[in-house]
Structures are given as C-alpha cells and as structure tokens.
Symmetry: C2
Subunit: 275 residues, 2 copies
C-alpha cells in the first residue's frame, strides 16, 4: 500500500526540467553522485535527488524562465513527516518503559533543527546542496535551518526512489546511537530546563544567558555565550549558534553542580539573597 | 521492514493483564467488538484493542494492584506520528500544486484536536472508550482532547494488529473527503486568521472574541461566543467548545463579508477610527 502511494507521489516530481537546472548548476550531477554515496543508494530517478538538493535561496537569481524549476520544500515536508514517524516508532521499540511525555521529548530532541543540522554536517550533505551564498554565510541559525531542512528533503528523496525499507535502514544507521542513548539524550537536550528548575528552587529566578562575543574566522563564526547569576558568570561555551552555545553552557554547569564545584550556597551569594 | 519493526513493537503491549482489566471493566469485550466493527477488522490480539480504549482517567480509581494495567497514551503517541505521515503523503498526492506552507496548514487542520474529535464522534469511538465520568461531562475542550487522543490510539492499534496497508486504507476512507476538499478545508479552518487580517488592514486590530453565555443542558453544554469590534457585536455562534465556537463565528462573519452584508465602512464606524 505504502509503496503504491509512493509511486503516485513520485510522478509529481517528474515536472522538474533537469537539463535546464544542470545548465545553470552544472555541479548538480556530481552532487547527486555524492548524495548517492552518502545514502548508499544509486538514484534511478536523478530528478528526485536533484530536487532534494535545491534550496530555494539558490533560485533567487535564477537567470531565465523558471518553469520546471523548483526547490526542495515539498520533499522537506514529506521527509519531516516520515522522519517523525520513524523516530516515534523506533524510540518506542528501544524504550519500552518511557512514557508518552518522555517519548515526545526524545523525538523532539532527535528531529529538532539542531540535531538534524548536526547530522547534515557529519554526513556532508551541506556540500551537496545548492544554496545561495548569503544563506550559508550570514546567520548560523539560518544555516542550521537550511541544513536541517536539507536532511529532511534527502530523506524523502531516498524514500521515494529507494522505498520505505531502504530509507528506514539508512535512518536507523544514522540515529541508532541517539536512540540508544535515549534518556541521556533527553537530559542533554534538556539541560537548560534542568538548570532553570534548580536555580529557581534556590533564588526564584533562572540564570541569564548572554552572548558575550564571537571566535573563529569570518567564514566559520562561533558564538560565545555565558550564563550569569546576578553579576557573576557561572559558565561559558561557544558553538555555531547562540542557542546551541547556551545549551552547552547549561550542560557544563550541570556537570559542575553534579561534581559539587557549584553549590546552592554559591548561587545564593552570587544573587545576594535566597528565594 | 516496517512490518518487522511493527512486530517488535507489538510485543511491548503483551504486558497488559487482560483478565484483570476485564474483571474491573467487563464491558471491554463488547467494546473491542464494537471497535472491530468500526474499523472493519477482527483483532487477533485483543490486548492491543483493549489498551487503545483505556483512557487514563478510567484508571484513577483502579481498585486493586495496578501492575499489568495501563492506558492508551503510548499507542496515542504512535498513532499521532503515523497519522501525520499518512496525511502528509496523501495531501501531497491529492494536491500537487500546494506549497509547503499550505500543506502544513492542511495537515494541521486534518489532524487537529477538533477534526479528530469530530471523527471519533462520527464513528462512535467515544462509546467504546473506558473513560472517567468526570472527564466526559465537565469541560468540552477536555472531552475533545480525550476523543482525539482515542482516535490516534485506535489508529495505532489497527496499525499494529492489522498492518500498515489496512491501517492506511481505513484512514483513507475516513479522510478522503477532507483531503479532496483540501483548500476549502484550509479556508474553513483558517477563517479566524483571514478575518484578523481583514480587520487589521482596516482598523489595525483583530476582532475580540468573548464567551457570552451557554446553552443546552447540563449534560450537553454549548458555549456561545460573539466577536466584537469596539462595542459592536459583529457575529455569534455556539459550539461544544469555546474554540470551536469562535471559529464558527469567524466563518459566519467571513460569509457576511463575502455577501456584502458587512463592509469596511461598517468596521471603521464600529471602531470609531481607521488604522
């Protein structure tokens, strides 16, 4: 049944004018091969692979008639849904004692922008992508979005071209560690809430996260974020996005708390009073 | 592959102590048969069907040892993900020209609490459900949640017991009209945003929705919601929940605008000034 529906869906993407696309982006052939290597699959329908690699920003300055040319957003929509179902079912298989709330949180962590962008980077999907230069250089949050969306789009391309079985097998390879980690993953992604609860129990307010600078090169900028209680810095970390950095800070601080390096008494003294 | 994973998942629900459950809720056997009729499927594993019908509120006053007794929340989690993937793929098959944003909105409308509660009511799933009395009598929003969650849970039970093909076929029957309606469904569900945009373009603010009373019986209460511009009521409607009622109000007002019964000039005069 699913395979029959996928066959129907596949026909929708035949409208791509591949020759036209590859005249403007001659690198697309090589990029499709690269994607095939990453996914361990030789695409029967090159159009599907091609579409999954076209970010809309690459078409902003499309030089001629745009008919038959489109971007990966519809594939991204499909891939997102398939991925969520995949992660939901696998998380349940792996963790028979996790309740719905924890399963939801685990799924959110695994299919969240941050984690999918990470997978895209690790696999080298970014290098296959056709994307406007401005998009990849400017804002790290936007870059993460592009990479996460691309992960979903290439997942859908594989689903449509190779079938459900191969797509699931590919995802299983990529997410098996995250799935096994399970609760640890949950805790890691949730360090900020954990820290917030802790300081609120002591002084009634959460720590304040501030971006205090950047490091790295103009091509590869990292944001430094520090967490403060009152005027006192209780930890700092750097990452490609402020959000990621603030999670890393929370991680570090949680470790300090667990090791006894940071105590309730210190938090009270930094803040000046108890709750 | 999917079927193999589903087989693995199925084993997780063997832990239910069916005899214990049916001693406290002897009606469960009849309810499972009813569910089977609704879904056109005879359950091989009665436990799966049983679990999908146990709302947690029915276990609040569980009289004895609770081991081996649990509710439908994990099935609901799985059903939700499967349903989302189903609707995403079918919406794309049906509407090849809809872009990602519209596809997302269509999916949200179809799998939203309101629509799933409606399906549950139409199919009679509510009558099979084991649920605390207070849960179904008190708050219509909570009742809708229970019914929508139950729809997801019985979808997952069917998926696990009958397989992906039968589950998809069942869903296709239920949602085919909504899927065909497509854009109309979108517009209907989106009347509130449409109306908001319209009044904001004229006077800079959205209409204000107020619950102005109830009607019906204590067993079946309907909320009356009216929309105001300034002091002037521009429409009212009643429904089982405030949210549903305010959508119906917006629907009615959109109709009034389209028929010319409500004009920009009127909105300006009700509000006292233009944007």
């Amino acid at each position: 049944m699913l395979e029959k529906r996928l066959t129907l869906l596949r026909t929708h993407f035949k409208e791509l004018n591949f020759n036209k696309l590859s005249r403007v982006f001659p690198q697309i052939e090589a990029n499709i091969d690269k994607l095939g290597e990453i996914q361990g699959h030789r695409y029967q329908d090159k159009k599907l692979a091609a579409i999954s690699l076209v970010h809309r920003s690459s078409l902003v300055y499309w030089p001629t008639d745009k008919s038959g040319i489109f971007s990966n957003e519809r594939l991204e929509f499909l891939g997102d849904a398939f991925l969520s179902f995949f992660v939901a079912s696998e998380a349940m298989i792996e963790h028979r004692s996790l309740q719905e709330g924890d399963l939801s949180r685990l799924r959110a962590a695994l299919v969240g922008t941050e984690n999918l962008a990470l997978k895209s980077r690790d696999l080298g999907i970014g290098e296959c992508l056709l994307v406007g230069k401005a998009e990849m250089n400017s804002n790290p949050q936007r870059r993460d979005n592009v990479l996460a969306d691309a992960f979903e789009a290439v997942t859908a391309a594989l689903l449509l071209d190779a079938g459900e079985e191969k797509a699931r097998a590919w995802l299983l390879k990529i997410f098996s560690e995250d799935l096994l980690a399970g609760k640890d993953t949950l805790l890691k992604f949730d360090a900020k809430s954990k820290l917030q609860q802790w300081t609120q129990g002591i002084i009634g307010v959460p720590p304040v996260y501030k971006a205090i600078g950047t490091e790295g090169t103009p091509q590869e900028t990292f944001f430094i974020v520090a967490a403060f209680i009152g005027e006192t810095e209780i930890g700092r970390a750097s990452a490609a996005s402020k959000r990621e950095a603030s999670k890393k800070v929370a991680d570090k601080i949680i470790e300090k708390i667990e090791s006894g390096e940071l105590t309730k008494e210190m938090i009270v003294s930094f803040f000046g009073k108890e709750k």
